[in-house]
């Protein structure tokens, strides 16, 4: 079987992975980026809204344009960054420190890198309700892929489940694409996302129903509607119920970090609710308990793309430094201060609590066996 041996393997070509690759390459390292999707840019290419955050992370620029900026940067390191798209890393074998990967569905090969940056992103969560498996119940990311990447209409009329930032933003994007949004239901007592996004939705006349959830989806083979219900303080379905006609139910109830490869590599994992799941412990260089593994972006905890890019920079810089490439002194501290400024505010405070749980000062006595 073919085996390739890059200096640094970056798994995931999204916001974190591309930033990591650019940073490592700028320090002089040779990098291989492996991306399972057909296109690079991860979730950035699906975002039509202008980003918040700080100027350093392209605040005021639309998400898909930020992807272009990162891809241009990667392009300037053509000699040191190689990229495999439509390629999925399928497992890690500690016996010989080797990954298995497949390009398309048939070409199988191995990768044995010196350092690995896991920037595998996240996966969509689903909530339980009858018929939640019917075609037409799509994750918010899938809806974005359909309409914002490939220009395919995801449906005619949608019920949005979840009023966090993703639920609000995707609702607005659906309206931009010409899809009618019947309502947004949110189980919590208040809107989770930014006020400015919610205000845009409300100005368009779309109801945001707080303390409401979906009771069941309707349809035989595909979605034809949904029954929504009011909830009490204990999230029990107490009504009133209402039937909504729709051919699309969009689930925006959150994401879970994609961390299987980190677990397989023996990285010490920890369940951190504030980071939305099981994530790897890491030090300030984004190194995990396995000295050959780094983590960045949503795989290290669900957060906004701006933070993912900075974490990617830290991981890329650290991996290059660990291989002996000279890096600018104090740069990691500078990146951390950028992270701190991105993490100001209410949502950021929760992230900081989570980070405090998983961040270790050093690996004495905790190193990888």
């Amino acid at each position: 079987m073919k085996k390739i041996a890059p200096e640094i393997l970056v798994i995931g070509g999204g916001a974190a992975g591309l930033s990591a690759a650019a940073e490592a390459a700028s320090a002089g390292a040779k990098v291989l980026v492996v991306e399972s999707d057909l296109r690079l840019g991860g979730q950035l290419i699906k975002q039509t809204h202008k980003f918040f955050g700080s100027k350093d992370e392209y605040a005021g620029t639309r998400g898909y344009k930020i992807a272009d900026i990162l891809l241009n940067e990667i392009d300037s390191f053509k000699d040191s960054v190689s990229i495999l798209q439509n390629t999925t890393v399928t497992g890690y074998y500690t016996e010989d420190d080797t990954f298995t990967a497949m390009r398309g569905e048939e070409e199988v090969f191995q990768i044995k890198p010196q350092k690995t940056i896991v920037a595998t992103g996240a996966q969509e969560r689903l909530i339980p309700f009858p018929n939640n498996d019917l075609p037409g119940v799509y994750g918010a990311g899938a809806v974005q892929t359909l309409m914002n990447v490939y220009g395919v209409l995801p449906g005619k009329r949608v019920l949005m489940v979840g009023a966090g930032n993703i639920g609000l933003i995707v609702s607005y994007q659906l309206m931009q694409a010409g899809v009618e949004v019947a309502a947004i239901v949110e189980a919590g007592p208040r809107i989770g996302g930014y006020w400015v996004h919610a205000a845009k939705i409300r100005r368009m006349g779309v109801p945001i129903l707080l303390r409401h959830s979906i009771k069941k989806a309707l349809g035989e083979d595909v979605i034809t509607g949904a029954v929504i219900t009011g909830l009490n303080e204990k999230f029990e379905q107490v009504g009133p119920e209402e039937e909504i006609e729709c051919d699309l139910i969009c689930i925006a109830v959150g994401l879970s970090p994609t961390t299987e490869l980190l677990s397989q590599a023996g990285c010490k994992m920890m369940y951190v609710p504030q980071l939305c799941g099981n994530v790897a412990q890491r030090d300030r260089t984004m190194r995990t308990s396995n000295p050959a593994f780094y983590t960045a972006g949503d795989a290290s905890g669900i957060e906004e793309a701006s933070a993912a890019m900075v974490e990617g920079r830290i991981a890329g810089l650290s991996a290059a430094a660990a291989l002996g490439y000279p890096t600018e002194h104090g740069k990691i501290d500078e990146y951390w201060s950028r992270l701190e400024s991105l993490r100001m505010g209410e949502a950021g405070a929760r992230i900081c609590q989570g980070i405090e749980c998983v961040l270790v000062k050093g690996w004495e006595g905790a190193s990888h066996e």
Binding site: S36, D37, L38, T48, R62, Y64, N86, T88, G104, E105, E106, G121, Q123, E124, L126, D133, L134, P135, G136, V137, Y138, G139, G141, A142, T145, L146, M147, N148, Y150, G151, V152, L153, P154, Q176, A177, G178, D221, V222, T258
Partner: protein, 124 residues
Amino acid sequence: MDEKVGPGGKGSKLALIEEHPILDFVHGEKVRFFFDGKELEGFEGEPISMALHANGVRIYRETAEMHRPRGFFCAIGKCSSCFMIVDGVPNVRTCITPLKAGMKVETQHGKGNVPDLNDGRPRS
């Protein structure tokens, strides 16, 4: 918009976004492929499931035990919901597998049989 023959009937259009306030969509070359024997049109190089969805096809497989219909869910190759048989190969993640001219895409019933690698099955 070109005409096509699909589940939507002869002359129905691909369900594409024609006007968007921010995005311009650049599609690949339009090619013909087969879905359960029917000839459909889609854009080469774009994921198979996107082409099917644009043709109004929502059901991609049927589960092994409960015989429940499945469409896609995550569209990023992580959830396994959109598995189909493509050119005789089962369990293909159609959300991240590019469409090619002449491809034979079939609804997958159950787990699918892994083809004998020595039978020289045709590849498009």
